[in-house]
């Protein structure tokens, strides 16, 4: 099962390497990772998506907590949280398909952020299930490239 682990860490060189090293050293693959500073510029917030069974992830979060540069760790999976992701899609579209694609963009509340003669770049910000649905319905079109940000998440309470 995929776990969403969120961390507050010191904004210093080497901190990311410590965290990633701890997870990868146990043979777990990080599926998503976002890092950015918080209101306090010396503190960063990380959101990590990592699959693994509950016991293992509990161990991993304890070990992460033990790292000197980690201020706080929480596994959001067991609590109420909101999580969204940003995705860019570059779609090759000719005149005849443009209308259909624009309809889907509208339905999903996405936005076209770049228009070129033979392609569009679409941006969607939403929950991961919605993004999966959107990528699904876009399959019949020529999606040339996608880039996902990885999840950012926050506990509801």
């Amino acid at each position: 099962m995929k776990h969403i682990v969120t961390l507050l860490v010191e904004n210093k060189p080497g901190v990311l390497a410590r965290i990633v090293g701890l997870i990868s050293g146990r043979g777990y693959n990080i599926e998503g990772l976002t890092v950015a500073s918080t209101l306090d510029p010396e503190v960063s917030r990380m959101t990590i998506e990592v699959p693994g069974d509950d016991r293992v992830i509990e161990q991993v979060t304890k070990q992460l907590n033990k790292l000197v540069d980690v201020i706080k760790v929480a596994d959001l999976t067991a609590q109420r949280y909101i999580g969204q992701e940003l995705v860019f899609l570059k779609v090759a579209v000719g005149e005849e398909q443009r209308g259909a694609v624009m309809d889907l963009v509208g339905v999903f509340g996405a936005k076209v952020i770049l228009v070129q003669p033979n392609s569009l770049v679409i941006r969607l910000v939403d929950e991961q299930q919605k993004i999966a649905d959107f990528l699904d319905v876009m399959k019949p079109y020529r999606v040339q490239e996608i880039n996902r940000s990885g999840l950012i998440a926050m506990a509801a309470d």
């Binding site: 860490v9 080497g14 033990k66």
Partner: protein, 573 residues
């Protein structure tokens, strides 16, 4: 204004350091230049691994933080095994490494290695110092992190230009690290829960680990066990935390544990781990470990709780404080039935070997070390069969008198760690018990013992084998003695030795001892053992005592890997 190098020396002085182990090189010349005027002793090692193990042995023997100082690149990488050893066993070390100048980092400069990258997984924390103004604070933080919580090694990597740069920065007082707040006090409710469980238990057992020694809580533990009438088993690293001569002592548990201790674990109804982390060599098969017991665990490290064994009553806190609090709440309970049962098991299966053997046996030598030292020595082992026999045939009554690489199992640890221990404890006799395999891994450090006139007794139990490997091959690999025989006889065909004469053994340890400036003695018969040991224990400098022992003696009892603690093999017969 001070240089970075001066900040390091001052930081060591402020931390109360009196001894530094190390070896110089290009990237630490500034540090060593300042070091030559420092108000503490410097011990020049012959290999940086030796420096790390010496700092480790010094720390284990004294409870103070061991310090080593080495150069960049190979100097730093040579300490990795020593740092990993200390990391596994929770030993406080501060290791200062030189680094190539800041502007050359990442350019594959001469003697450059990514030291913080390489040591990240084998240290509790590490620093690359990029600004000299940070150095005074980092020195204070490093000692705080190394010493507090679950102790461990901290490495500080300092580029050459930072050592030379000047700063007005100073740091005094206790560094406040917002992301590092070890939990020092156990939760009162959990302590009460545990006390009630102890009072209620009919067959309680304390499982005591190295945390009790690191936490200086042996006196509290002993008082608690005696007050509550609870028997005590120890892990390898817990040896000495509770007097093994006490009637409540069940001695060591685990793969080569005593029968009574292992049976007690399988029979108890409450198991209280006191600073023991349920290592796999302790538990055997997890699903059959302590099957009838409520598990309680006192540990300063929250990540140790329920790591391998599901814990019902966790108490996270400093072991000394938790035991002091427990002392106020536990009652004296009559458990004579349980204690009588344990006494019977102890009598049925003591540590034993063939006392009628005509051949010199390693167990006999260790018994004699116990007798000659009157049990007052600091015993430092290497890793292998002799390590287990040292746990069986010597009784430890004081903390910090049995030093061993438990977690990492580092061969080559014994001699340098013994040197560090002797430097830290000049009031005690230090004896290192080694096998002929492990002693060769850091033999060069004997020079340090000679130079400092340290009366370390170096006992080599020479069976001409990598004995523990050979034992596993005999028991579990159909006697295929691949790469475990150091004499010519019985080697597989692809390991043939040129000029093989039966019994030929290299090197000659007596000549080795003499070449390093120490006295070397060789013992082949039982009646020579005591005399040689007495000579070693009364000498003013190091003495190497090589004992030629039976080549195929096995360590018993043994719980086969992956088996439950009840499945002990007590002999091959």
């Amino acid at each position: 204004m001070r240089t970075g190098a001066q900040c390091v020396i001052d930081g060591l002085k402020d931390a109360g350091v009196t001894t530094v182990f190390g070896l110089p090189g290009g990237a630490v010349l500034d540090l060593f230049d300042t070091l030559s005027r420092a108000p503490f002793e410097f011990v020049l090692v012959r290999h940086e691994q030796g420096a790390a193990h010496m700092a480790d042995g010094y720390a284990r023997a004294t409870g103070r933080t061991g310090v080593c100082m080495v150069t960049s690149g190979p100097g730093a990488t040579n300490t990795v095994t020593g740092l990993a050893t200390a990391h596994m066993d929770g030993v406080p070390i501060v290791c200062v490494t030189g680094q190539v100048p800041s502007h050359m980092i990442g350019n594959d400069a001469f003697q450059e290695a990514d030291t913080v990258g390489i040591t990240r997984a084998v240290t509790k924390h590490n620093y690359l110092v990029r600004n000299v103004d940070d150095l005074p604070r980092i020195m204070a933080e490093a000692f705080k992190i190394a010493r507090t919580g679950r102790p461990g090694p901290v490495l500080i990597d300092i580029p050459k230009d930072v050592q030379r740069a000047k700063t007005a920065a100073v740091f005094t007082g206790d560094p406040d690290i917002r992301s590092y707040k070890p939990m020092e006090r156990g939760h009162p409710k959990q302590i009460t829960r545990l006390a009630q469980a102890i009072n209620k238990a009919r067959k309680p057992l304390f499982l005591v680990g190295g945390g009790v020694i690191a936490g200086e809580a042996s006196a509290e533990l002993t008082e608690l066990a005696r007050k509550a009438g609870v028997p005590v088993a120890t892990t390898l690293l817990g040896l000495g935390a509770f007097p093994e001569t006490d009637p409540l002592a069940l001695r060591m548990v685990g793969m080569h544990g005593f029968v009574a201790a292992n049976r007690a674990i399988s029979a108890c109804d409450l198991l209280v781990s006191v600073g023991a982390r349920f290592d796999d060599r302790v538990t055997g098969k997890i699903s059959e470990f302590a099957p009838h017991a409520t598990i309680a665990h006192i540990d300063i490290d929250p990540s140790a709780i329920s790591k391998s064994v599901e814990t019902h009553i966790p108490v996270v806190g400093h072991v000394k404080q938790v035991l002091q609090a427990l002392l106020l709440e536990v009652q004296s309970v009559d458990r004579s039935g349980w204690l009588t049962q344990l006494d019977e098991w102890k009598k049925q299966s003591p540590a034993a070997y063939d006392v009628h053997s005509k051949v010199l046996l390693p167990q006999f030598v260790i018994e004699k070390i116990y007798e000659v030292s009157k049990g007052n020595a600091i015993v430092v082992t290497d890793v292998g069969q002799h390590q287990m026999w040292s746990a069986h045939f010597y009784k430890y009554t004081q903390p910090r008198t049995f030093l061993s690489s438990g977690g990492l199992g580092t061969m080559g640890f014994g001699l340098p760690a013994a040197i560090g221990a002797q430097l830290g404890r000049p009031d005690k006799r230090v004896v290192t018990i080694c096998g002929d395999g492990g002693i060769q891994m850091n033999f060069q450090e004997l020079v340090v013992a000679v130079e400092h006139k340290l009366p370390v007794a170096v006992v080599i139990l020479n069976n001409g084998r990598l004995g523990m490997v050979r034992q596993w091959q005999e028991m579990f690999y159909a006697k295929q003695y691949s790469a475990s025989i150091l004499t010519p006889d019985g080697r597989p065909a692809n390991e043939r030795m040129a000029d093989a004469k039966p019994g030929k053994y290299l090197p000659d340890f007596v000549m080795m001892a003499e070449a390093h400036g120490a006295l070397g003695l060789r013992v082949t018969r039982q009646e020579e053992v005591v005399k040689a040991l007495e000579k070693a224990f009364t000498a003013t400098g190091p003495v190497v005592v090589e004992c030629i022992v039976a080549p195929e003696e096995n360590v018993y009892p043994m719980v086969p890997p992956g088996a439950s603690l009840t499945e002990m093999i007590q002999s091959m017969a």
